[in-house]
Amino acid sequence: MSGHDSKYFSTTKKGEIPELKEELNSQYKDKRKDAVKKVIAAMTVGKDVSSLFTDVVNCMQTENLELKKLVYLYLINYAKSQPDLAILAVNTFVKDSQDPNPLIRALAVRTMGCIRVDKITEYLCDPLQRCLKDDDPYVRKTAAICVAKLYDINAELVEDRGFLDALKDLISDNNPMVVANAVAALAEIQESSSRPIFEITSHTLSKLLTALNECTEWGQVFILDALSKYKAADAREAENIVERVTPRLQHANCAVVLSAVKMILQQMELITSTDVVRNLCKKMAPPLVTLLSAEPEIQYVALRNINLIVQKRPTILAHEIKVFFCKYNDPIYVKMEKLEIMIKLASDRNIDQVLLEFKEYATEVDVDFVRKAVRAIGRCAIKLERAAERCISVLLELIKIKVNYVVQEAIIVIKDIFRRYPNTYESIIATLCESLDTLDEPEAKASMIWIIGEYAERIDNADELLESFLESFPEEPPQVQLQLLTATVKLFLKKPTEGPQQMIQVVLNNATVETDNPDLRDRAYIYWRLLSTDPEAAKDVVLAEKPVISDDSNQLDPSLLDELLSNIATLSSVYHKPPEAFVTRVKTTQKTEEEDYPEAGEQSYSDSPARVADSGASPPASSANPQHPASRQPAAPAALPDLLDLGMDNSSSAIVSVDQPASPAGPPLPVVLPASSGQGLQISAQLIRRDGQVFYSMMFENNSQVPLDGFMIQFNKNTFGLAAGGQLQVPQLLPGTSASTLLPMVLFQNISPGPANTLLQVAIKNNQQPVWYFNDKIYFHVLFTEDGRMERSTFLETWKSLPDSNEVSRDFPASVINSVETTLDRLAASNMFFIAKRKHANQEVLYLSAKIPRGIPFLIELTAVIGTPGVKCAIKTPSPEMAPLFFEAVETLLKS
């Protein structure tokens, strides 16, 4: 039979709170009790009933234990929001803590510790003192935990009142549950303090080991966890400890078992006798296996821990691989972890069985699991040389099933197998090529392309295969583009015939001109340069022997592994991350300690992201980047013929002339004349500043059918009198090619009158086409000169000397300064120089200076709250008419 509390959740139509208030103040006990139940029900579903505080607290003084508990529950939830009213409850608490009934005494202390209100805490000390020495163990065990609660609120108070010593005394209590709670409290306090508070001596150790036999299952966990920090003096002591802990392995409670395993593993480090160690390993296996018949969630925790244990001591479960076979109905998270452990336990002895299992899994329904199973086969092949052939034959069988994602995953792992065993299994390439059309995932495609490129000389139609990918080159993801580029270069080096040569032209063009991916472009330029200067060197570099890989993925760094093993059963062992990687709570260092240990707290809790291991399954080293032997330098370029003959004969070729600052760097240039309006000629251009000079960076692309030559340029009058400082150097452009150039610019030639603006009108002509006109924009910051830095004093003087009418300001509501440093770096790169900063309330105020030609200075004041949108910019300058242009420039700079 069950209760009928659900009625308390139903609400009446009348306003709820006033009605409850009325009932709480009823003269009838039963009605009051029902009302409190309704309040708790409302609290549970998330309604705010804090306004009833006084009325509920009035019900506190009652003989009825059930009602009292409900009121206390209410207090725990709302005391913090009503600290002034909470004081009303203090008297009852103090009185209850002296009640003849131990249950009530304990209840009072337990609840008071949960109310984090200063005024209550003050009154807690005396009752706590009494309860720590109470005759009744139930009260003492509650008081022990209460000390930890108080420490969390006010550590100083705990130390001043001597509660720590009282707590330490409780370790010798004759009641095991009191001992266990005292240990838990001390361990927690120790964890949040940087001072040694709870040190386990050999004396406490033996006391605690004795208490272990008598206390509850949870108490055993507290004690084992605390003891796992104990460092035994020598092998013999370690053996003694282990002997007394091993019986715990038979406990039905999984937490007891895991904590016992943790402690045994810690002590095993010290034990020298191989017999003892072997024996212990034997004893630990069955309990670990038994954990796998618990609830799936517990199985998951156990499996994550077993994953660590088998990395440290593979022998423990070496013969138990069968228990990790997946059941059809296991939850997916259990299956994934089992698979991971199966890979770790796979050996020459059991591989046949394991492969049969993996093959079975590869036909299941869950796609992620199937993929992992296929990948597992590949990892076994890499791990076990003698089994590699069998693994590959299983993979080939799977490929024949023609399930799309199985095929793709198989190809990814086969690429790794080729890396591990070069020149061994290439006979299967033909089978792989059959599935070429079905590949649609980037990683699988990239892997297949890598295989084709790597073994181009053995695949008769390698060029055809690669060509089929080339058509879609611009649409492919970067991963595939990079592989395609490298594979084509390999093909060309291995078969330098006409077909590959054409292919490589297309690829290099695509990868240098039409892409906005800097990685791809850089790699393409390097290949291009290598091929055009020294094909032999290119062969040495691109076709170099690759280092053989091994299956070290999912293998943790030994020191991290040790740390994780000392955290068995905790979150850390489940995440496979050290605790400080996910626990954000900082140690409470006290004032007095801070003087003694200035940075102790900070040091021990400083983030160490470098140690955070990625627990996710990542494929083994799979990059097909050519390995550049460090010692090999490309030979002198002049001595060798240009293999490519792509018109790179002189410096006018814009593409790879390193001597001139011609190769465009950084983001792609904006298109100023699209091909559609330029009869196939597309021009991209932008003003840039480099080495103290303004250049017009331009790129010409000939998408028309005829070669274009005789390019000339002319600039219209503009605010700054910008004009060409030399001849436009553009070679003849064959159809389908492009050229870039940097045109030096000069200032103050043809200055247009009228208000300052950023308009730049340009005319371009060539011998084949009409004259093209287009408008570009002058980026004002291009004009900032390198000598714009001002001394602090100069700045102040200049500021003062300029009249206030020369001060202009503007708000940039959308701009954000996230970090002062990065912003200053960025501004400095555009010749805006930092002078000083100050803090005004929560705002940062930055002072900078800049100068434009003819020595016109700009004094700048930027005001912003870090990380919050909205930047205010105020400037003072002798030429306030330039201010709008200036603001536009600053806004652009802050945005980029």
Binding site: D5, S6, A252, V301, L356
Partner: protein, 439 residues
């Protein structure tokens, strides 16, 4: 740190809070919203029971139509947390009389709050034994056969001593007119067989369940025909082991009442039992398992619209025994239209909701065999689908008075200072655990 929880939430399937209890201050009261948003309302639900969101970690378990969610912000003991949830649910069940679901929680929420306050303090699990808690947490609506002799509204005076006592699971002063002990050996056989009939994995997980109605504070000792126990005994008594089958237990775990140190040194199972029903021990056996059934399936796909399924089941336990409630589920493709059957015993039908042919035999005598042959018609699908992945055949059964492991109780001795006589009852039963045959 063995802290198991900073907050505990009970949610229904819609995500409404049924119970919330904050134990520590380090997690905000609104963390449950994060759980709802990032786990319950996403595909994440069910993919991993431990998740980190922001600075907090969430552990969750689903029990019937309720999610129990634990929130922590420290490096908490996860094993402890999950075990706490399991034990707490068992405790609530024992209070509400069996069921644990949304209705039961709503109907008992005051009691649940009271229990939650008692069984965990500041995130540290305390005593969770129903037996002892019932001494002083006695709410109306709760009927328990063990506390009926106590006055209901007043807590027992020495309850607190018993909660914290060394025998924290049994109260003193019990009196029964007739002293009885019921022992149930319940074994689950787990089998994974390949389509070719070879055993891939096979083990037995067994439980010794006990129901005690004994007066006073009795000391019990249990003897089984397990190898180590027998060897140790013959060593101690310097007498050769009696012939007969001995069983090698791979692993044993015991209820907290069993003296583990003594088990470790003397290999005897001795204990002071809790009153009423409890699980004394669990064991696992992998060697020498007697499989009660052999299943021989043949499945032929005849073209794209027809399938022929033949399943032969042989019982291989003693001819005088019989199995009850035998169910064999043979998976068929989703596009199955209908199936016609021929069976030598029991009844078979096609159940589209689980995509399986279900063959039920109420009573299956030992040393016999039975067959089912079915013709399955499929709806032809136009789309070129990948070949059907065949889930394994699953089987359910119960065989009374049979243990797959061969385990037997040799003796159960009861000592009490008053020296009363006890009546002992022993039953055996073997059930199917996950009994899977790939096809």
């Amino acid at each position: 740190m063995p802290v198991a929880a900073s907050a505990v939430y009970f949610l229904n399937l819609r995500g409404d809070v049924l119970i919330n209890r904050l134990y520590r201050d380090d997690v905000g009261g609104n963390m449950v919203d994060a759980f709802r948003m990032h786990i319950m309302q996403t595909k994440e639900l069910g993919t991993c029971p431990v998740r980190q969101i922001g600075g907090c970690s969430f552990f969750y378990m689903r029990i019937s139509n309720v999610y129990i969610v634990i929130v922590v912000s420290t490096n908490a003991n996860v094993a402890c947390a999950f075990k706490f949830v399991v034990e707490a649910v068992a405790l609530f069940k024992s209070y509400f009389g069996g069921s644990f679901d949304e209705d039961a929680i709503r109907n008992n929420f005051v009691l649940i709050y009271e229990l939650l306050d008692e069984i965990m303090d500041f995130g540290y699990p305390q005593n969770l034994s129903p037996e002892i808690l019932k001494l002083y947490i006695t709410q109306e609506g709760v009927r328990s056969p063990f506390s009926s002799k106590q006055p209901l509204d007043k807590p027992v005076p020495n309850a607190t001593l018993q909660v914290t006592g060394a025998v924290g699971w049994r109260r003193e002063g019990l009196v029964y007119k007739k002293n009885e002990v019921f022992l149930d050996i319940v074994e689950s056989v787990n089998l994974l067989m390949s389509s070719k009939g070879s055993v891939l994995r096979c083990d037995v997980t067994g439980k010794v369940l006990m129901k005690c109605f004994l007066s006073g504070m009795p000391d019990l000792k249990l003897g089984l025909n397990d190898k180590i126990g027998l060897e140790k005994e013959s060593q101690l008594k310097s007498r050769p082991t009696k012939s007969g089958k001995t069983i090698e237990l791979d692993d044993v775990t015991f209820h907290q009442c069993v003296n583990l140190t003594r088990f470790n040194s003397e290999k005897t199972v001795s204990f002071v039992p809790p009153d009423g029903e409890f699980e004394l021990m669990k064991y696992r056996i992998t060697e020498g398992v007697n499989l009660p059934f052999r299943v021989l399936p043949t499945i032929k796909e005849l073209g794209r619209t027809r399938m022929e399924v033949n399943v032969k089941v042989k019982s291989v336990f003693g001819a005088k025994m019989f199995a009850l409630g035998v169910v064999i589920k043979v998976p068929v493709p989703k596009q199955t239209a209908k199936a016609s059957f021929q069976v030598t015993s029991g009844r078979a039908k096609y159940n589209p909701s689980i995509d399986s042919l279900v063959w039920k035999i109420k009573k299956f005598p030992g040393q016999t065999e039975s067959t089912m042959s079915a013709e399955v018609e499929l709806i032809s699908t136009i789309a070129e689908k990948k070949s059907w992945t065949r889930p394994p055949i699953q089987m359910e059964f119960q065989v009374p008075m049979f243990t797959a492991s061969g385990l037997r109780v040799r003796f159960l001795k009861v000592w009490e200072k008053s020296g009363y006589n006890t009546v002992e009852w022993v039953r055996y039963i073997t059930k199917a655990g996950s009994y899977e045959i790939r096809c």
